[in-house]
């Protein structure tokens, strides 16, 4: 379990030009989306100015549902598959789920803000909304399972199973507008990539998809690095604790007493080493 400083590749913890470029590109593209969405594009014939929320809500939902959850599910499957098992997949899944949770919560909030003036209610127990809310609960469940103290492999296995079970909800969210009569509108971009909106609106929406995808990619890389560094420090702390324990001498290596009186053992677990 020990991982020294040399075992952490430099690229996985340090800032690189690619990451900085990714960050700059995501800031610029999100700013361009906001500018086009709020000031350049015309109001919609039926929705009026409310259509401007469509430039942020579907791109955020795309990142949450398909990108973040897709990466988490594929990474978890690759971790569970013995031939491809690697800590990289477990860390990537964890990073993707955490960032995806933020995007899923934002999907619900921005959708609710759009729904209030459009439908007249902040929330409806609609199939699309309910299945997305369920997805958020499942993502929070994954993060809770991840915090249960356990051996790294046991934790990775539990989390991978939770991610794969939760992934069942993604197609339900996607097809909910087709399977049930819902308040939520049908897709505006069909599988043959022909949008039913046109001109500046379609290009702004497309830019929104690119912008939030870039923002997600930057967050994923940084969150992955946080995971690597946190594990590295945890392993180092464990190494230091084990070294201290061993330096206490053979008495420390004896098994802990069991049976009657075991609870009255007053031997300190950590002693100050003598010079």
């Amino acid at each position: 379990m020990s991982a020294g400083a040399a075992t952490v590749p430099r690229w996985s913890t340090r800032s690189t030009r690619v990451v900085r470029a990714l960050g700059a590109a995501s800031v610029l593209s999100v700013a361009a989306t906001v500018w086009l969405g709020l000031w350049v594009t015309p109001p919609d014939q039926t929705q009026g100015n409310l259509v401007r929320l469509v430039y942020v809500h579907p791109p955020i939902a795309w990142v949450a549902l398909y990108l973040a959850f897709g990466i988490a599910a594929v990474s978890s499957a690759l971790w569970l598959w013995p031939r491809t098992r690697s800590r990289f997949w477990d860390r990537l899944a964890a990073a993707s789920v955490e960032v995806g949770t933020v995007f899923t919560a934002l999907t619900l909030v921005t959708g609710s803000i759009w729904g209030r003036p459009t439908w007249g209610v902040w929330w409806a127990w609609d199939a699309r909304l309910t299945s997305t809310a369920l997805l958020l609960v499942l993502l929070l469940g994954y993060l809770a399972v991840r915090r249960i103290p356990a051996d790294a492999d046991a934790r990775a296995r539990r989390c991978a199973v939770v991610a794969l079970v939760s992934a069942v909800d993604v197609p339900i969210v996607h097809f909910s507008v087709n399977w049930w009569h819902t308040l939520h509108q049908q897709a505006v971009i069909t599988p043959d990539l022909s949008p039913t909106i046109h001109g500046a609106m379609a290009w702004t929406l497309l830019l929104g998809f690119v912008a939030f995808t870039l923002a997600f990619a930057w967050m994923l890389v940084v969150r992955y690095r946080v995971e690597v560094l946190a594990e590295h420090l945890e392993d180092n702390e464990l190494d230091v604790a084990l070294r201290e324990r061993r330096s206490e001498g053979p008495r420390a290596a004896e098994p802990l007493p069991t049976g009657a009186g075991a609870g009255h053992d007053t031997t300190p677990l950590v002693t100050t080493p003598t010079p």
């Binding site: 999100v30 401007r52 803000i113 940084v222």
Partner: protein
């Protein structure tokens, strides 16, 4: 317009806040994980 402003404000502030939080966590862990620097020789 207030719904549109609210939607954009919530989305941008949450994403910016989360990005800043991630960045701070990363920089702090990077500092802690870095090997101690040797003092300059006199």
């Amino acid at each position: 317009m207030r719904y549109i402003d609210a939607g954009y404000a919530v989305a941008l502030s949450v994403l910016t806040g989360y990005a800043a939080l991630l960045w701070r966590r990363w920089r702090r862990l990077e500092r802690v994980a870095a090997p101690p620097q040797k003092p300059p020789a006199r």
